[in-house]
């Protein structure tokens, strides 16, 4: 699926991954926290190779946050419960401590007053923001976003992008797979273009969108711009 990937992300960078469907963008992202296992090669997080096999994967995953396209909130718990579950069970924090941290995370995404609401009472955009809070609560080193706005109604996309922009400003390292080109142009440090499982080109957004080297990239950018 993926061929010869060599990608490095520096602390505080926002890396955007774009490309046609089936190019392997999601697969690459999911390799980062080993939801997909690479058949060969290394995945190095904070100095350690997590694909190595002698690493406590669960411990490592606490440092890597992930936000999914379909939110994947737990329907049987309220927003605060969703955010604090891992704090209580994995980090073994007390209920009081967890709730405090959870509320802070919810406040950061602007949903502190929805702490007691259940997922089915929230709009799509609100659900996704709760999902971001859930990832943030563990204080990760990096946040992975797998098409975070693709399942949202257009009018709700803005609220989620706003939170992502704020996270970027606060210095969070982020890797984002998405079609939101406007966001990429405005906020990304680096844009990576993938096709057929390979990285064709990567560079600053101005370069990639303005004067790309590969014809395929130019073609893709032109197509997308038509819809922007």
């Amino acid at each position: 699926m993926l061929k010869g990937i060599d990608l490095a992300v520096a602390t505080g960078e926002l890396v955007f991954i774009i490309g046609p469907s089936g190019s392997g963008k999601s697969t690459l992202l999911r390799c980062c926290n080993l939801l997909e296992e690479p058949s060969s090669g290394q995945v190095i997080v904070d100095g350690a190779d997590i694909a190595g096999g002698d690493v406590d994967l669960n411990r490592v995953r606490q440092k890597i946050g992930m936000v999914f396209q379909s939110f994947n909130l737990y329907p049987h718990m309220d927003a605060l419960g969703n955010v604090t579950l891992a704090l209580r069970k994995v980090q073994k924090k007390t209920k009081a401590e967890s709730n405090e941290i959870g509320l802070r995370a919810l406040k950061r995404v602007g949903l502190a007053e929805k702490a007691k609401s259940f997922p089915n009472e929230l709009s799509g955009g609100q659900q996704q923001r709760v999902a971001i809070a859930r990832a943030l609560a563990l204080e990760p080193l990096v946040l992975l976003f797998d098409e975070p706005t693709s399942a949202l109604d257009p009018e709700l996309v803005g609220s989620v992008l706003k939170v992502m922009r704020e996270l970027r400003e606060s210095g969070m390292t982020m890797v984002v797979v998405s079609h939101e080109m406007g966001f990429a142009r405005a906020a990304a440090d680096r844009v990576v273009f993938m096709d057929h499982g390979r990285i064709l080109e990567q560079g600053a957004p101005q370069k990639l969108f303005g004067s790309p080297e590969h014809a395929r990239v130019a073609e893709f950018v032109a197509q997308i711009s038509r819809h922007d």
Binding site: N58, R61, F68, N72, L85, V90
Partner: protein, 225 residues
């Protein structure tokens, strides 16, 4: 005249008063046996389904084999096997024990399949989300998957529980002193079907509330997503 004859046969107060105490005794036995079967069957079924969720290849094979075999065999055959065939190799047990064990194993087999189907039905994204926050497989199973799975399993499970506990009547075939045993022998002894009527009434008193409860459970949990 016909109605009078009917009453004399099926609702004979005299015969009823003679056999009534035995029927009541049988009622308590049936109730306790039924409860014991439900507890044992559900606990074992859940344990097997959870074990299956951990994907130990050899254990899986045995569990599937067990579930298939005990869902294919008629419960009466299981009872007869345990009670009549096992003694040939030195394992003998009381009729009550054989009945309880058979029905519990059968319920466990059905329960395991129902729980397992429920676990499979929880969307993969839930497991991925939980694992991505660092939760172990066990924690994910207990806190995220199982609560959602259980909601899906309640209607089919209640139905199955009801149908298997009615199997307690099968114990009468090997002389377990539950309701129908007393009713049947009473009717033969008295040459009058009134004890059978009493037995039938006893079963209705026991199971009609259960069936109505089952109906309520089904409607309540039908569209819980």
């Amino acid at each position: 005249m016909e109605l009078q004859r009917l009453a004399f046969s099926f609702f004979n107060a005299d015969v009823a008063s003679r056999y009534w105490p035995q029927i009541v005794e049988g009622f308590w036995l049936t109730t306790q046996l039924g409860a014991a079967v439900i507890v044992a069957g559900i606990v074992l079924g859940l344990a097997l389904a959870l074990l299956r969720a951990f994907h130990f290849k050899p254990a899986n094979f045995l569990i599937v084999f067990f579930a298939d075999a005990l869902r294919a065999l008629p419960p009466l055959v299981v009872i007869i096997l345990l009670f009549f065939a096992l003694p040939f190799v030195g394992i003998s047990m009381s009729a009550l024990m054989a009945t309880w064990l058979s029905l519990s194993l059968v319920l466990a087999a059905f329960a395991e399949e129902i729980f397992w189907a429920g676990i499979l039905a929880v969307p993969k994204g839930q497991t991925e989300a939980a694992r991505s926050t660092g939760m172990t497989r066990a924690q994910t199973l207990m806190n995220v998957v199982l609560p959602q799975a259980l909601r899906l399993t309640i209607p089919p499970l209640t139905n199955r529980m009801i149908s298997i506990t009615k199997g307690t009547a099968l114990g009468s075939v090997i002389a377990v002193h539950e309701i129908i045993y007393h009713a049947s022998s009473g009717a033969s002894e008295a040459g009058n079907p009134t004890p059978l009527t009493l037995g039938a009434l006893a079963y209705l008193v026991l199971f009609v509330p259960v069936v109505i409860f089952g109906r309520w459970v089904e409607t309540r949990f039908a569209w819980k997503r």
